[in-house]
């Protein structure tokens, strides 16, 4: 309860500072709209459904691309960790591509796929795939051999060992890799949406872009607010339960 009060006070204070800056007229109202203006924009955009539709399109792109990225990255990571040849080839490729900021895929995707959904998906997949692959590979390579040995004595082998021992044992790595993959994917999708306009598929990035073009700062700040909110929610819904599980089982945190 005390924690909630502290948090509420913090954010209230933040808005108060913002409001006082606006009231004092430090910045031009074009550059810094009042909090209630931004609220007004959000309510309007919600009322005509623009915001929900944009948020839905963006989340859908992210969900599909991220799922595909994980679905490819997870097994590939398991494979590169277990085969020296794959590690020397795909592993090195992944390591190299992972260092590439995923925004850099946007121009390439544009030329390859044009202004299409495919370009969006490609960017999200590239953002996810390599981080997840590297994380799984790392997790499996750092696995204490005693786990698989113990499992073998109990009659576990092959796929069973992989699914019941190797994967859960490297879960701390896998989860942090998936989280990083999500962060990369989310960032690159925003960049792609700001760059690429697709008729009939306006995401949050597009709203942000239009806000800039119309000099509508209330829209820009409002959309940023929504983007932050989605990021927070995804963290709480997708990763928090797993992280809590890790902390509880591995005993890595006190709360």
């Amino acid at each position: 309860m005390k924690r909630i009060i502290v948090a509420v006070c913090f954010f209230a204070a933040l808005i108060a500072v913002w409001q006082s800056l606006v009231t004092a007229g430090v910045y031009s109202p074009v550059l810094l709209p009042a909090p209630n203006q931004v609220g007004h924009y959000l309510l309007n955009a919600l009322a005509d459904g623009e915001l929900q539709s944009a948020a839905w399109i963006t989340t859908k792109r992210l969900a599909i691309g991220y799922s595909i990225g994980c679905a490819i990255g997870l097994p590939l990571g398991l494979m590169t960790a277990r085969s020296k040849y794959l590690s020397d080839t795909i592993g090195v490729l992944a390591l190299g591509l992972q260092t590439l900021p995923s925004v850099c895929w946007v121009p390439l995707a544009l030329l390859w796929f044009g202004q299409s959904e495919a370009a969006m998906l490609f960017v999200v997949i590239m953002g996810t795939l390599w981080s997840v692959l590297i994380a799984v590979d790392n997790g499996v390579k750092n696995l204490p051999p005693i786990y698989t040995r113990a499992a073998r004595t109990m009659g576990s082998k092959g796929i069973h060992t992989l699914v019941r021992v190797v994967l859960p044992a490297s879960l701390p790595y896998v989860i942090s890799g998936m989280k990083q993959g999500w962060a990369f994917a989310w960032r690159s999708l925003m960049a792609a949406e700001i760059y690429v306009t697709i008729i009939g598929g306006y995401g949050l990035g597009h709203l942000l872009h239009f806000g800039r073009e119309l000099n509508a700062m209330d829209q820009v700040i409002g959309v940023i607010f929504v983007i932050v909110l989605i990021g927070l929610l995804a963290d709480k819904i997708l990763f928090s339960p797993w992280e809590k599980f890790l902390h509880r089982r591995w005993g890595t945190a006190s709360n």
């Binding site: 005693i146 786990y147 040995r149 113990a150 499992a151 073998r152 004595t153 109990m154 009659g155 576990s156 069973h160 019941r164 021992v165 859960p168 044992a169 879960l171 509880r248 089982r249 591995w250 005993g251």
Partner: protein
Amino acid sequence: MNATEALQPIQPAKLVVKDVSKSFTTRRGWLQALDCVSLTVNEGEFVCLVGPSGCGKSTLLNLIAGLDTPDSGELVSDGQPIKGTGRERMVMFQEHALFPWLDVLGNVLFGLKLKPNLTPKDRIEVARYYLHLVGLERFAHANIHELSGGMKQRVALARALAPNPRVLLMDEPFAALDAMTREQLYDDLQLIWEKRKKTIIFVTHNVREAVCLGDRVILFSPNPGRIREEFKVTLPRSRDINSVELASMATEITRQLKAYTRPAEPAEPSHTAAPSAA
């Protein structure tokens, strides 16, 4: 099979090790871990392998477990050559090797889930029986990191016993524990051994521990790993590690062990005096 059948005592196995050699290439060069070692362990016998580090006692345990294969020689369990790991031979390691992603009960269930012909309910009943046997039934849903070192090894023991193996292979399982915890576990292990009738091979570098637990104590010497001496321990059970008879026997074995561990060239096996090259 139901839980009651799964809990029936099982016939312990006889193990025969014949002329087994095993070498490794390590970073520091080639190492003859075992050189023509032969050993017979009878049904239900408790045998302790003692020796300094590098004498191949853990290597032999891994070979019997089926985790490694010998360069030459034969390993036979109840007339069947040992090819790989098997549920009838369970291992307890020095590090507890418990799985942190499972709770205590989940760990004990791991091997049971790989055992066919049991319903999930039976498996839980069997797992709970063994948790009770090691005195941890109240901790079924505890996380591994919440347990003390001694409790972890108890869970590891329950996990190894749960599939009802005929042989229990223990690789310095109590080496990392404090003295008080260890002494309690000596008592418990002896009781469990009498109750569950297993053939046990127990690796240790602690001579007293070996004399306290074993029917036989087998002395290894390093470079290359060989069996040097064998002692029958006829002290009545259950044995107290602090008893005077036990201590004097341990002293005698330690004296001989010291003779073999002096830095020396591999000499002809000698049963009386130490190699005099030092």
